[in-house]
Structures are given as structure tokens and as C-alpha cells.
Symmetry: C2
Subunit: 379 residues, 2 copies
Amino acid sequence: MSGLLCACQFDSILNQVSEHTKSAKNPKMKKDQSKISIKDVARELGLSITTISFIINNKAKNRISDEVIKKVEDYIEKVGYKPNASAQSLRTGKSNTIVFMAEDISDPFFSTIAKEMEDLAFNNGYKIIYCSTENKKERALELLSTFKDRQIDAFIITPPEDFEDEINALIAENRKIVLFDRHYNDPNHNYVVLDNYNSCGKAVKSLLEEGFENIAFVGLESNLSPMKERLEGYMDAVKNNQKHPISLLIKFDEVKSAKGKQVFENLLKEHPNIDAILFSTNSLAITGLRVLREVGKRLPEDIGVITFDDRELFELHSPPISVVSQPVSELAEELIKGTLNLLKSRSKSPKLFQVSLPGKLILRKSSMLESGAASGKTK
Amino acid sequence: MSGLLCACQFDSILNQVSEHTKSAKNPKMKKDQSKISIKDVARELGLSITTISFIINNKAKNRISDEVIKKVEDYIEKVGYKPNASAQSLRTGKSNTIVFMAEDISDPFFSTIAKEMEDLAFNNGYKIIYCSTENKKERALELLSTFKDRQIDAFIITPPEDFEDEINALIAENRKIVLFDRHYNDPNHNYVVLDNYNSCGKAVKSLLEEGFENIAFVGLESNLSPMKERLEGYMDAVKNNQKHPISLLIKFDEVKSAKGKQVFENLLKEHPNIDAILFSTNSLAITGLRVLREVGKRLPEDIGVITFDDRELFELHSPPISVVSQPVSELAEELIKGTLNLLKSRSKSPKLFQVSLPGKLILRKSSMLESGAASGKTK
DNA sequence: TTGCTTAAGTAAAACGTTTTACTAAAAAGG
DNA sequence: CCTTTTTAGTAAAACGTTTTACTTAAGCAA
């Protein structure tokens, strides 16, 4: 049937061939085989490629008659023509691609964010390329250098330590940059982060209300903003309640090693009066929970526990562990919304956006001395 | 056939070269301001772009003098020139991009695989774009239709159910396709999967050796190959040992719901003699463990447990849960190695590869009745 | 000398778009 | 009836590469 439609003025030539090809069911077979281009569409409809281009880019209003628009759209729909993305990208300098440089894309927090972003971006015609910096500056630079020349429209970056200059350089080059998870308190940056300071305050307050007295903080030795803010949040909250802060900072590389377990064990020994611990990250908590189990501490009777970032693991733990949960969907939404706005704006200096979302304290048995009926309640 | 007509009546008369138009150059200004192209390099060195192109593509041997090659390479290094990826892609039809369609990129199994692949691919000059099908056919089709027109070099696909025709269609279109995690036993497909059948056999054997007698299987109601193979592997292993199989298949959507918990609870009630359970997936095990805890079953005394896919959660569980672990690094390596080979081969029909890797049984307390010294041993 | 080979390079077409600047015909204005 | 405006389109340049087919000069054998 489609053979009839391509008739127009080329009849004579087509006819010569069709004698031989008829047996192979569909005379248009050729088309399907090799990619169909805007030129093919134009030729087939007896129009110029300019017209086709205007139509597929919604620039046809007041230029092309509704009748022709309809005809072209129908044909495009029928043959499934889609513009060649590389050609578009070459011509326009845009690629409809966003790069998300996560710390580690296999980390559940980042991969969940990634998935939600992917979905939102996809619905807006954007693709996302992910990569992992491992929190290493050289790695991040390497990635950046690869992607800088690939017509990437925007970068969502979880910067490693000591990366402020590079971020500023990118911004100076007029790139669209959005920071995620960590930031530099720079009014010229776009970012979406958790309100770490107040989240920590809430956690401490909750522990105190439950009757815990000597709350220790176990954090990461790091200059990254969340690590610093969580520590500060803890410090201020404890001091404001006339308690004495006790903090242990562990090096990133040691968290999962024997060394990490040991320094944590030492903390417990040196401060036998500790009756609650606030873990600043997920992996710190996991290491901590291992040690607590090994040394026979009962939760929450001997030691109350709250940690950052919810994971299935904590809910299934015995006893279930209280957490400060990050609002993953909202974070992803803010990130994509902000990034897309940046991309939409035609101005050279789009308005900045700086978002800080509150954490959600999810109380479970590990931090509830009275273990009342309100298990799992949310605050 | 239609190509005949566009023949070239407008061979041009544009031989007047405008040498001087561009030559009012300020060599300093230029560099920093706008992206530097192959043309700039050529002009600056007084060479043709052809020469530059040959050199950056390692096609200069026997064509260009070593002296010139050196000069060009040095200059490129100095100014940091990198070819425009879109232009390359447009010209060559290649994009150095691989799409990985996972079931769910936020699932730890897939995100870990993704990360390892990303790394390997990156080192070979390839980027990876991830996406999630959610095991939904329409979603997969939608994704496919977006990516088909973007010069994607290869697809690594975790197909949803009932997707065999689509895979065959892609292959017929001459696309590079590699299946992952699940396959169709089709000798014309490339795939990398776990040896689910024998992995299940190993798990059953281990439970029997530990003294468990009535081993139940809890699986997913699904046509996907891993689900079917695991069930078969269990069935055959149990029967071969003169035991009676008991299996429960739960719908994907119900696993995490109240319904899922209930049917599992019913299983326990209807078969009070069950003394061990083999869970076919991660999330089934999590639901199962919740129920087992609620109904007061002790592990492993009352019920022994082994589940598929290792996760931190299972190691930290009390008691730690035995698992069949997938060799993530090896899977990722096979995937990328195979895909890259496909891409390297110039032939129209590269040789196929079909890889099935053994699972690793990691025994922990949940399946060890004697709870001997050999905790955590690997088989 | 002539003719052939090799070495070292270049011109120009092509990939598939978008966009600027044009045109031809019809409608409107006077 | 002429001029202007509007409508509905089109031609061709440009984006930055790769690659095919050429050129030009030198070397060399006879």
C-alpha cells in the first residue's frame, strides 16, 4: 500500500524497478533498511527540507499552511522519521544531554537519585549520562575533560574535595553547572542540597527527648560541606542543651577497614559513658553496627543509634535503625527542574537557584528507649 | 531507488576562495574565546585539515612525514584541541556510546554492574547511557525508539517479558545487541548471564548437606529466563534427592505488598514441615525475612534460608543470610569485552558470544545448622 | 630524454540538520 | 491599476569532521 503513495512525479522511474522488486513484498523495503533523512521526507512530499525542518521544530506557524503541516506530520508519523541527533547537535551546539557526575553511581543514594532524574529528564527530551568520581579530583578532571568537548548541555556535579576552582572555571566558560549534595556557599553557584545542619539538630533533639544523655558523633574526616555541616549541627545542638560533645572523625579510606573498626572501638572504650551515637553516614553506621554487635552492646538499651540516609538494611536490622532520610524524589525533582530552567533561559546569565531541603527523621527502635507504640513514627 | 532522482544539477561555481576574509586574526583572542576546531589547527600550522585529520586518526603513516606529525601532535597537545564529537558522529555514523537498558538502575545489582561497565568502557573511549525499563515492555519500546536514532553504537539490554520479537527486529536492523541477565536460548543472540540452573542446584545441595529435609522454593511468577531456570534448578535438584518439591510463585507487583506477605505466610501454614527456604530474588527474601521474624521463626534452627544476590543487608542481618552471589565484576567485564569486540569487528556478522557464569555460594549462619567454625566459608 | 614509482600532501564532497535571507504569488490598500 | 503587505514557501550556507580521489615534486631506471 505504501507503494502507491510515493508515486508523484517519479512514477516512470519507479515503474521500471517495481517490476523486479514486486515479488519482495514491500517496494519501500529499501527505505526501512537505511536511515530515512529529512531529505527523503522532503523529496517524497515534494517540499523543501526547510519546510520540513520548520515543521518538526514547531517554527511553522505563520509560515507554512496548516494543510501542509498536517500532511508532513502525518507522513513523518507514518514512516517514523526522526531527525539525526548528531546533525542537530552539530548544527545547534546542543545535545539534549545532561551529565551527572555522582560520587559513586553504585551507591544506593546516588543511583536512586539518578533513576528519578533520568525519568524526569527523559520526559523532557533529555538524556542523562552518569559517571562516578569516586571523590577523586583527578578522576573528576578526567571525566570533565572527556565531556567538555561533547556538546553536553549541562553538568550536575557532586564535586570531590578541593574542586571549587574547577567549578568556577566551568562557570566562567559559560557552562551550565548545578552542584548536588555538597556546595561551597558561593552565591554564584547553583546547588541542591540537604539541610544538613538542621537535620542533625533534629536528630540530636530527638535523642535527648528520648532520654539519652551522652550523645557521640561519628563522622567523616572531610572538607565536604555535608560532613562539616553535620558536625556543626551536632555540636551546636549538643552545646545548646548544655551537654558535652564527643566526636570521632574517620578517614574515608578507613571506614570499611579494620582500622576504622578499631578507632570506633577505642572511642567506646575511652568514653564508656556514651549512651547514644549519631552516625554521619551510612557506611559509618554499618561499620559501627558491626562493632556494637561484636562488643555485645544492645540497641537501644545500652546505646541509642541514629544514622544518616535511609536504606532497606536499616529497616530490616534488629532492632530497626532510626535514620535521617533524604527526600530523594524532591531532590531529584529540584535538580532537574532547576537544570531545565537553566537550559530554557535564553539569557547569558540565568537566575541562580539554591535549594536546601529538610531531612526527614524516621524514628525506629534503635533510638527509642521507651519503645512505645509509636514505632516508625515520622517527625 | 529513490536516490537516483536527486542527481546533481547544481554542481557549483563557488571556487572563489575567500582567503583574506578570515585572516584578520588575533591569535591570542581566538584561542580562549571560541572552541578551537580542526580548521584552526590547520590554519595555524599552514597545513590542510586533511593532514590534521589523518594525524589525529592515526592514518598518517606512509602519508605524512614524521616531522609534520610531530609538529601537529605537539600543537594539538599545547592548545588542547579535541575533535567535535557530534561532527565525528555525523560523519562516521558512530557515537562511541553504548546504551545499557537495565531493569532498574537504582537496584544495587544493576547499579554495581553499571558502574563497573562504565569504568571499563570509559577506558576504551566509550560512554554509557543508562536507563530503566521497570520490566515494562512499553517503557522499553519507548526508550528504544528514542535511542535508535541517536547513533548509538551498541545496546546492552535486560529485556522485559515478551521482548524476543523486538530483539530479533533490532538484530535484523543490524544493530549490535547484547542481552544481559536474561536470554531466550536463541543461538543468534549475544548474551551474558548467570548459570541460574546450576547455582540453584548448588544451593539445594548445600541445604541438604546441612541436614535440612523439606526445602521450599519461593520465586517470582515470571517468564524471564532466570526465574524459570532457578525454579527448574531447584525442582531437579530436589527430585534427584528423592525429596518433595514445594514452590510458591509470587507476582512481581505483589512482592512488596501486604498480599505478598500473606501468601508467604499461608505457605508456612499449609506446609508446617518446611525447614528451609530458597528465595529466588532479593526482594522476595526481604519480604520473607520480615514475615519469618513476625511469626517468630528462628533462623536457622526453625528454618534455614538461602537467597539469590548478595547485598550488604544480608551480611549484616541477624543471623547473617547465606546467598548465591553473582560475580558482578566478571559479568561486567564479559559484557564490555564482548560488546567492544562486536564493535571492533568490521564484518557484517561478527561471531556471537554466549556467556554463562557460575554463581558463588556464600554460606552464612542462616543455612548452617551445626554453626561450626566455618562461618562465611565460600564454596 | 622519457616514463614510472613513491612520498607527502591537499581539494572537495558528504554526513543531516538549522537558519538567514530571499522569492513568488496572492491579498489588501489607495 | 498600481503599490504595498502578507502568505507560503525555498535556496544555500554553515556546523566540524572523515575520506576519496587527486596533485605535485622528487627519485630513479632505461
